[in-house]
């Protein structure tokens, strides 16, 4: 009898520990999924469901008029309206040290982000810069040729790359509207432009609801779809995250079509050895047969 009791207690303790560790490791919840939104994990697309847990490296593809809201465990919240492409590079776990920043890249689309003093700071990167948000609410619109953001409340630090690998930081405060076209310097205004307001999705005009508490039960299973194509991978194979994505997408080089497209596209240095093994072959081995069929090096698998 004692053995049975002891076993039961041990089992309960194990369950509690598992639940605790699962919660501690939780990074965020997709609390609003409006439309057919998909998330790329490793190299596979999944159909996103409300309540799904966020993970480091998630690439979220939001189509036009669709919406996703991601609430990080610390309280930092992002609402993304499509067409948008977002990469959650690093999301602090629930038990992460205070002050650990969430690192998110907005490749294109509209995003509203909020962070408080008590929640995790957010580093929202876009093409050619990043916004460091510690206590405030911002609305950002980014596309390859144009970036603009409005500080709805609080303040945000704009970090821009400078010559010699340095960075230049400028503070934007509540009510300020910043915008730039291409690589030009940011211009500021004391109110958002009419074109910004007109184009801005209505969903972002309201405060973001806190819905995470509704999704405390087990997350829904995500349905796996196909693997990432080269066209979908290509936007990530340049810029600051290139190395990480090259390593992540390397297994796809085993796919003949993916590999052919990769070989035809601008070079990805990390893949060069795989795609063009003849360039790295010793000169005396030039006569080796069928260089194109070289296996994928284990280093980038």
């Amino acid at each position: 009898m004692n053995v049975v009791h002891a076993g039961t207690v041990l089992l309960l303790a194990l369950c509690a520990f598992t639940a605790f560790t699962a919660r501690a490791a939780e990074r965020g919840i997709y609390t609003v999924v409006d439309g057919d939104v998909r998330v790329l994990r490793k190299i596979t697309w999944y159909r996103l469901e409300p309540g799904a847990r966020a993970d480091d490296g998630d690439v979220v593809d939001v189509r036009e008029h669709e919406q996703v809201q991601l609430e990080l465990g610390s309280g930092t919240t992002l609402s993304i309206i499509g067409p948008a492409l977002v990469h959650a590079a690093a999301l602090p776990a629930h038990d992460a040290k205070p002050g650990t920043a969430a690192d998110v890249t907005l490749l294109r689309g509209w995003c509203k982000a909020s962070s408080t003093e008590k929640s995790a700071p957010l580093r929202l990167a876009f093409t050619g810069g990043a916004l460091a948000l510690a206590d405030g609410i911002i609305v950002v619109h980014a596309d390859p040729g144009h970036t603009e953001f409005f500080v709805e409340s609080g303040r945000v630090r704009l970090v821009m790359p400078a010559p010699k690998g340095k960075e230049v930081a400028r503070d934007a405060t509540e009510g300020e509207f910043w915008h730039r076209t291409g690589d030009r310097a940011f211009e500021t205004d004391d109110r958002p432009s009419s074109s910004f307001i007109t184009a801005m999705p209505h969903e972002l005009r309201d405060p973001m609801p806190e819905l995470a508490s509704r999704f405390q039960s087990a997350p829904p299973p995500l349905v796996a779809g196909r693997e990432v194509t080269f066209a979908e991978a290509q936007p990530w194979l340049s810029g600051a995250s290139r190395r990480a994505f090259a390593r992540r997408f390397a297994p796809r080089l085993a796919d003949r079509a993916f590999r052919a497209e990769a070989a035809a596209a601008p070079a990805v240095p990390e893949w060069d050895r795989t795609l063009h093994p003849e360039r790295y072959r010793p000169r005396d081995a030039d006569s080796a047969p069928d260089a194109r069929a070289a296996p994928i090096p284990s280093a980038i698998r």
């Binding site: 409005f150 709805e152 409340s153 004391d190 109110r191 958002p192 307001i197 309201d206």
Partner: protein, 289 residues
Amino acid sequence: MKLIWKFNLVLLGIFLLGFAIAGYVSYRELQANAREEIVQNARLMMEAALSSRTYTTSQVKPLLDTQLKYVFLPQTVPAYAATEVFNEMRKKHPDYGYKEATLNPTNPRDRASDWEADLVNAFRQSKDNVEMVGERDTPTGRALYLARPIQVSSASCLVCHSTIEVAPKTMVDLYGTANGFGWKMNEVIGAQVVSVPMSVPIKRANETFRTFMLSLAGVFAVTFVLLNAMMHVMVIRRVTRLSAIADQVSLGHMDAGEFKTRSRDEIGVLTDALARMKVSLVQAMKMLE
């Protein structure tokens, strides 16, 4: 003059006097009730307007505060909300009106007209004056107005109406910088004016009065006819017969008829007395012979 004519003259006089007094009193009462009903309607509309204002301030505006940072939404302004609610009502009842008549409004449609400006100035001159009720002619007929002062009683009003620098930029973008600024705390800046048409309640009161007077006249007419019929059957006809027999008896025609009756009323008693008198007269005549 015959008894029936005298009776009818008196009865008609009483009827006419009663008709006139009843008409005068009921007309005044009905008109007063109609006006009171209009005033109550106006007060109800005023309370509805105040409720719209309070609802907008306490529940709608907080929900739209974030949106106001992007674009000014007049729907968050209490005056706008109250006016729009009544504009919806006016689609079905165009004769009713509500206006937040203001001397220096942000929205030009709220600018006070001449007579409204007089009301506002009256409120500004007398702080104790909290409500004014009056009548005026309008293109659609006579209307009753009820006005209450709009006083800057909250600092939140001054966010939009003190200076251009403090006002929300999105509001300035929409309405410009020319109007709606310079308001001061506790200043009476306008008046809520409710306008209610008088024609309908007055018409209803007049119809009620006409129905009442016609009914009264009908009752009088029926009473007149019945009283005349009763008078004829119960008094005139019997007295006429008695007097005809008495007249013949007095001329010595003892066979003119009998004073006979089965009634025990006053005329019956008189008939019996005349019958005894005739018997006595016959006996006296026989004794003389």
